[in-house]
Assembly symmetry: C2
Homo-oligomer: 491 residues x 2
């Protein structure tokens, strides 16, 4: 129950296997509208809030949700008459709302960041409607946090109340933020900065839409200050009511997005940060993680957990997938030892992830399941991986059976050598998949050795390898092309 | 085990709920190659066939398939030395191959057609590598069938053995087919013609690729003789080895596709047919249907069965979907009674199908599930519906929650009035979905009545309608636009 929007988020959870968001409704309640200096919730916003609470409570009852956490943040926390609203909500809906402190808000934001990014040491920021949470992480622990009343609704109402955004008003807003930040003492020195919250998601989406960017979410997107500056300029050039037409910006944020962008930019400036890594997780995931993970509520390895969560959710990631990963890594390492490619730890990790996920598309259909796996990976996303890495994993899964690997989907995320990289990884997974075509681990392992200008692959069979050898021989072409020499399958 | 290609097809089946193809391997075995007049299987094709049988048998063992039907058709049926191959297969793999008669081949083809199209009275054709099956249906029963040795491999070897396709040779092929057909006596008079088999699928795919055609399979595609004639001209203009480069044609059919196309064209000519309705089902589905359906092995209503099969496969089509269908049809009929649109039985059926399928995308993810439903519907297909109908069902599901309906995906399948049609159907399902937003059937039914230039919708609640009314009021805009007047939700 934020100052700007309220969300009801329903999670499904199969303990030890997977979790996923299963339903969601959102209302731009604006409960903090016109609170002003006297910090009172006004009658109209309270009416809207009460009605929204009734809808949410009714939804939870109808959907049979088995545990409800109702959490309110900044605007309600700050309001002198908050009990009036909370009592009315309890009376009408039975919902007992927990008003969390700025410190707790920082804690949930930290849990969201620490479980959806690879950040160990660095900073986090959450820009909300009422307040901004700032965090510092040391060795994945929350070392410092602070909540400041610099939210986008508050700042916009104070400094940018009209349709236009005069340069002077924007400077005043920045100055105000800079002064508040200056008092912190620990928000400085640059380094890695991560961010969450609707304002940041919207700004990152808008920045991505100005690039040739693949059709994936902004999880892991790197928002540079340069790109943020360009967006601010674009937004400021339009009247407030038209800012929602900028691609990526939600129309119901039109009037507060510029204020939020200026706050973020001033915060980055104050800390000496050039770039912000975006996470789509938020307070709601933090609350979920706290209730479902151990103590401390941290997954051990975010990237691995993302891959396993996605695989398990689609009934995949079992013996077949683990075995394809095993054979793929044997091939990858064996070819590197034979001097046939330059091994790369990051590529190796992407290959392993793609192996774990290559068959999730079977949940849709056998026909074209490689395409479905690609679709599911790109859609679902993999927190902890960058968009570039996500797209590469998707492409390796996409081409694990057939087709000519095509890296063009990377768009502006492409790097030199990607065509070769993709061909090698796809050539490897394709052979591993065929050596495990009968899905019974009949080829226990595979040896790699150079032989007269060719490469000889020697399957070590623990069962009947008829299908494996037949299938591998028919699918060695891509790997041969990738390493520039014939591939022979001994059998 | 056909004359041209062998396929291993694995079906999953949840009796009374759904069935689906779950795995498939295919080999262009060409067992009938160079059989010639003396009708003997030659050593090389026999070796290939034996090896393929070993691979298939090994695959079945590894995959734990619980029932195997090994069925051989024309080339093996006709071969004087077939027992030599069948004994070798049994000895090496344990597979007992059932060689079916031309009559049985027609029967399985009939089952495939009768369970994947809406044909009641008309004709069917299957073009294989060795033979062509012709069928006549009366009231969905198989009234006549005949198997003729006019398969694409045989005809190509006899009349078009070289790289080129001389006009004279093509005329001779046509003449031969026409003479054989002329003796039948019952292949005449035009009417509805349906077709199955790899040759027909490839030709239909090639014809579709020459149109602005949506990204769906050719199930239900109407292949006209004009389009077929253009394809024949295109194929004949290329050397045999290059015909596989024509988009839609499988490369391993390159040398026999022209022969197959000429046979088909001559058969259509002989029967006076202008158009062929394509089905993707085949002999393999016929065998499956016989073993899994009752007696006669016919589903009662192909279109309904297709919708239910797809819904059940993704755990959908339950109380919520049935209720959205119920409310949608109440709205559709109520608006028609109020004179606000011209009702159309076909549109009404598409609306109902879309309601049953609108949430299947939830199997992928809650986020964007309307898009996933669209993706799944278009990919999986709905036998019994035309490609145009399939795309419309997919679009109604796509826009059941949000977005501005866009009919452009129909491409060359579009008809005048489609934009209005789509807006109305999407407006209706969107309101019905919101009236059932809490998924608990709390709005039992909905009344429609005109009121002062507006339309008033009156939900009859059997439970708590808070969510329904809140949600419906926020989503009535599209329907209002479709009928050109305001929509009020009474609450």
């Amino acid at each position: 129950m934020g100052s700007n929007s309220w969300r009801l988020v329903v999670y499904g959870h199969e303990p030890g296997s997977w979790w996923a968001l299963t339903d969601e409704i959102r209302e731009a309640t604006r409960v903090g509208e016109h609170m002003g200096e006297e910090r009172t919730l006004k009658p109209e916003p309270m009416d809207r809030a009460l009605h929204t609470a009734a809808v949410f409570a009714s939804f939870c009852r109808a959907a049979g949700v088995d545990r409800v956490d109702a959490v309110a943040t900044s605007a309600i926390r700050a309001a002198v008459n908050r009990d009036e609203l909370l009592d009315a909500i309890r009376e009408r809906t039975g919902l007992r709302v927990r008003v969390i402190s700025g410190r707790e808000e920082g804690w949930y934001g930290y849990l969201a960041l620490a479980n959806s990014t690879t950040l160990r040491d660095g900073f986090g920021i959450e820009t909300g409607g009422g307040s901004v949470q700032l965090m510092r992480l040391e060795d994945r622990r929350l070392a410092a946090s602070e909540s400041l009343q610099l939210g986008s609704v508050t700042m916009s109402e104070t400094f940018l109340p009209g349709e236009k955004a005069p340069a002077k008003a924007m400077r005043a807003l920045r100055g105000h933020v800079a002064r508040e930040m200056g008092e912190l003492g620990w928000w400085e020195g640059g380094g890695r900065l991560t961010g969450i919250g609707g304002t940041i998601r919207n700004l990152a989406t808008a920045a991505a839409k100005r690039l040739e960017f693949p059709d994936v979410d902004v999880q892991g997107f790197e928002l540079t200050r340069t790109a943020l500056g360009e967006l601010i300029e674009l937004l400021a050039s339009k009247p407030a009511s038209k800012r929602g037409a900028v691609p990526g910006i939600k129309p119901d944020r039109a009037d507060v997005i510029l204020g939020g962008a200026l706050v973020l930019d001033a915060c980055m400036d104050a800390g000496g940060f050039d770039v912000l890594e975006v996470s789509e997780a938020g307070l709601r995931e933090g609350v979920f993680f706290e209730s479902r993970l151990g103590d401390p509520p941290l997954v051990a390895d975010v990237r691995r957990a993302s891959v396993e969560n996605l695989a398990h959710r689609y009934g995949s990631g079992g013996r077949h997938e683990l075995h394809v990963a095993h054979l793929s890594l044997q091939l990858y390492d064996g070819l590197a030892e034979a001097g046939l490619h330059e091994p790369d730890g990051s590529d190796r990790e992407l290959l392993e992830a793609a192996c774990m996920l290559h068959d999730i598309g079977m949940t849709i259909d056998y026909d074209d399941h490689h395409r479905h796996s690609h679709y599911l990976i790109l859609h679902a996303g993999l927190p902890g991986f960058t968009p570039r890495e996500l797209v590469l994993i998707g492409l390796v899964a996409r081409y694990h059976r057939k087709g000519d690997p095509d890296a063009s989907e990377l768009g502006d995320l492409a790097l030199p050598g990607d065509a070769e990289r993709l061909r090698l990884l796809c050539g490897v997974i394709r052979l591993a998949e065929q050596l495990e075509r009968s899905r019974d681990q009949s080829v226990a392992s595979v040896g790699v050795r150079p032989a007269n200008g060719a490469v000889r692959l020697d399957p070590d069979a623990s069962g009947d390898p008829t299908v494996a050898i037949w299938a591998a021989r028919r699918n060695a072409g891509l790997l041969a092309e990738a390493i520039g020499r014939p591939v022979e399958v001994v059998g």
